[in-house]
Amino acid sequence: MIEIRVHGRGGQGSVTAAELLGFAAHSDGKYAQAFPSFGSERMGAPVQAFVRISDKPIRIRSQVYKPNYVIVQDPTLLEVINVLDGLHEEGLLLINSKKKAAELGINTKIRVKTIPAMEIAMEVIGRPIMNTTLLGAFAAATGEISLDGIRKAIQHKFPGSVGEKNIAAVLKAFDFIKKESL
């Protein structure tokens, strides 16, 4: 079983990102579970959402404390909370930022990747919502979900042209990470 924690701020679509990740994994034929950190959500306040993906039915219902992957939607959160908390040593921290990982001053041996998701979302979708863009980067960096799974998840959640734009942003982010690792 792999576990994912998504950090964001209320209004950035962190719960939707988790839902889409779970939906994509489910489309790929795996078992999945996605849920928000429960609370009274407020716009702008730090929020978390969680995903579990497994080859077997998922029964555990606790929050995620030792994620394999952490996704950070808002780089300003790095100053507020310890996004590395509990992250596996061989895991990955994926951050929405136009800076390179080394420039962020994160003191860790764990693999860190950045993606200018906000810039990609503004260019392709035309709105500052980068949750779907990050999914493309996540798929490229980890291989845990397929592009086809993400496409199905987005088409289900956002039918029509909104979905198509989001899918275009996903593909751009996917290519960005793939080219970087060449």
Binding site: Q33, R59, S62
Partner: protein
């Protein structure tokens, strides 16, 4: 069968929709749930042909389903926490009038202090109301239970309301794979509601009239008797469901690796899933551990529980509610199961997860560790020592 990746609340709303309710009533304010929110969309879109009544309080929502059920309509409502408490007066009336209303209690803590998170104190507070109470382990079971609930409630030998209790947030806000029930499947399982008695100008009757000391006690006697009769009906409906859908989540109870266990954890609701993972982990190390799920809490299946646990040496009851001034509620009832029996296991009670305190694998490990200690006792698990000033 294929599953849909769907939020628990939405899955339940869709199942209620295919049960063809005539009237749905809800109070659209926090604390409410996505269940009635999605049902209002289904009704507005014409997918569910029901009358949807928005009201000004939870008390009124319960009153609307009471009144409409008395006219022979199939009715549904859902609420949680404080809203549930506001309904309680009417809940007793619904049971007293023998109206087969189905409702979802999304389990959440009650005030004060204000807390919107999950525990099971709300529904436990209506334990003695005359409602059948079923507790769901996961979203598949929560969804399936609603179809079963109408069949149990509307059985002409039962005619009692059924409450599906479903852990707030933990289940309602979680996306999981769920096999949804089609309209065709639901119609095959659940016949139209045709009560023997209902309010109609053609045949005037009175429901819930005044009954003095000469007759009131008998109404309680009959509900109690019917509760006992409903044990068989709940079990039969679960079997019918299994036969048609191939899914079985237990009848009155469900057991997991209990047959040869020396220690069994007893619980209700979504905590069962987490416990099953720990059971497998400990079994791999050679420890004989199992878990018993109380699926039907009212009626309380004493005989089934005794049969399942009579060989067990130790029992740990874990629960998300407390009878302040006594202690654990479920543990008290599990203890009563063994009263007068030849052998009594050691029974420990643990109160945990109140007000949304996360129940982790460590919490369950701690319960098992405490159980290994000598005395039978009851305690809170997972307290923040800093907040209670040390031990």
């Amino acid at each position: 069968m294929s599953t849909t990746f769907i939020e628990g609340s939405i899955a339940v709303a869709k199942t209620v929709g295919v049960c063809r309710p005539h009237v749905i009533s809800a109070y659209p304010i926090t604390p409410q749930t996505h269940i009635v929110e999605h049902l209002s969309e289904l009704v507005a879109d014409g997918e569910v042909k029901a009358e949807y009544v928005n009201v000004e309080s939870e008390h009124s929502a319960a009153s609307v389903v009471l009144g409409s059920s008395a006219t022979g309509a199939r009715t549904y409502t859902a609420t949680t926490s404080q809203g549930f408490l506001l309904m309680i007066e009417v809940l007793f009336n619904i049971a007293g009038m023998r109206l087969p209303v189905v409702m979802t209690c999304v389990n959440r803590a009650v005030s004060a202090p204000i807390n919107i998170w999950n525990d099971q104190q709300d529904s436990m507070t209506a334990r003695d109301s005359g409602w059948i109470q079923l507790y769901a382990e996961d979203n598949q079971e929560a969804s399936d239970m609603h179809l079963q609930a109408f069949k149990i409630a509307e059985n002409k030998d039962i005619m009692l309301p059924v409450m599906i209790c479903m852990d707030g947030f933990v289940l309602t806000h979680s996306f999981d794979p769920v096999e949804l029930i089609s309209q065709e499947q639901a119609d095959k399982f659940l016949p139209p509601f045709k009560p023997e008695y209902y309010l109609t100008p053609k045949n005037p009757l009175t429901f819930g009239a005044m009954v003095g000391p000469d007759g009131y006690m008998e109404t309680r006697y009959f509900i109690e008797k019917t509760m006992h009769a409903s044990l068989q009906v709940i079990s039969n409906v679960a079997t019918d469901f299994h036969n048609q859908f191939g899914r079985f989540q237990g009848g009155l109870i469900d057991t997991y690796k209990v047959e040869d266990a020396s220690l069994v954890l007893v619980a209700m609701g979504s905590i069962i899933g987490t416990i099953k993972d720990i059971v497998d982990e400990l079994r791999a190390k050679g420890q004989k551990v199992g878990v018993l799920k109380v699926r039907s809490y009212r009626p309380f299946p004493k005989d089934e529980i005794y049969k399942a646990l009579s060989h067990v040496k130790e029992i740990a009851v874990v629960e998300k509610a407390v009878s302040l001034g006594y202690g654990g509620i479920l543990v008290n009832e599990i203890k009563s199961v063994f009263y007068g029996k030849p052998k009594t296991p050691k029974i420990n009670g643990f109160i945990l997860g109140l007000g949304g305190r996360d129940i982790t694998a460590d919490t369950i490990h701690q319960v098992i560790k405490e159980t290994a200690k000598a005395a039978s006792e009851e305690k809170f698990v997972g307290l923040n020592e800093a907040l209670i000033g040390g031990k």
